[in-house]
Symmetry: D2
Subunit: 140 residues, 4 copies
């Protein structure tokens, strides 16, 4: 569980090729073996009254960050899908970008488990997530 | 925890007034005291390659269904926000509408807890959710 | 997912043969295909000051109820272990027996998912659980 | 959320005074502000066939570790109870002691949220937990 198999550029290409994610403008800031940091910019048109970043945006950012963190260890050719996701909403984000930091805690050939912390620019924890992923054979 | 305080029409007005939800075209199909059924139509532009309904859409539908289910018991004037949400992804939805059925299991003055089942038109369970909400004093 | 493959007597024999569960005096009250009802008697020596039933006892009862509910569909020869368990503590139990009702919501060859409700004799919901199980090849 | 308000000795006295925990022989190894490390010794009489440490023991150790981690910040006089607990079972423990490391991630006046990692002596992660606690006014 220790060799980095992708670059930040490759992960950003994965995002660019995922049309359904484009409205969010996610970008990968950095990665390491089993880790990935994704930036979620503030987009007023996606958000709730008062500039509160929606829970859906935060969950989407966390999900993508873990998906890419698995790729750092398993490469780009496998298909991993979310099987379980739990989110604790701890603090609201208001008109600010969000930094989603994913860490893989356990990786098997078929299942992966990890955590994501979403924080604002002042390093305040907004949401905390635990996710399980499963590898599927189907081509998407 | 037993008196129905809103109508389907009122809940649909809540949805129509929530601009950030408009891309999803959620509609309330029915409600009862502590329960709400929300329809999530298939919208190809929101979804993943192959017509797979995204996890974010399903989580969004579940979250909204529980939010409205709480309103059936507490009325329209209080502000309830999601504090915790866990989703199990059990089966993929493909090019099909989704029915999100929320049930409040415990309701206090400040916290609520319940489940949501998201199923396709063949009554196959796609996702199962447990959610906690908190009542906040802030005006949004 | 519909044929009942065990009897209440067989499930109670499973409990009697599980020495590590004996302190709890769990008994199976009833079962159906994909469902099992387990009774957790009040045992003052296991519990907290004031006669409050401990969270560990409730989680243990819920875990056992789901384990047996899977057996109702898969029989007694397979080995299923808990892979994930989430518990919401909604109300305290005080010097009273607890009824744990498990329902399997999704069953595959390798994974199972379901819910457990633990209630007191007045049908008040004490805890709500969602559990995932995995089938393992190892003999225990 | 930063001042340490208790000592390891005080936390071990809390454990010694909690009769319902005595079968487990938990001990506090270390603590810091918002953190607590609890040791769970292997006790064959509590465990499953083959010397596998039961999920209940691991959940019990995690729950206690978080309870004490909250005390490091809030002192010994408040009453905090578990409101929600999710456990991922990642690897089995066999005839070995377990180290439960709790960290408080968010602490309010009424609610707390944190994680616990349970590992064996080789620093292999066995279980990962997220817990929410609520402060209650009742005297126990």
């Amino acid at each position: 569980m220790n060799e980095l198999r992708v670059s930040v550029e490759q992960l950003n290409t994965v995002l660019a090729d995922s049309k359904f994610l484009r409205p969010y403008d996610f970008t990968v800031q950095s990665c390491a073996a089993g880790q990935c940091v994704v930036l979620l910019p503030f987009k007023s048109e996606l958000e709730r009254p008062g500039g509160i970043v929606s829970g859906m945006s935060l969950m989407g950012g966390a999900d993508v960050a873990m998906w890419l963190a698995i790729m750092t260890l398993r490469g780009l050719d496998e298909h991993w899908v979310t099987s379980d996701m739990k989110t604790a909403f701890l603090r609201s984000a208001r008109e600010e970008g969000v930094i989603c930091t994913a860490k893989v805690l356990k990786l098997g050939k078929k299942t992966a488990y990890g955590t994501v912390e979403c924080a604002n620019g002042q390093a305040q924890l907004l949401t905390h997530h635990v996710l399980s992923f499963t590898r599927v054979e189907m081509s998407v």
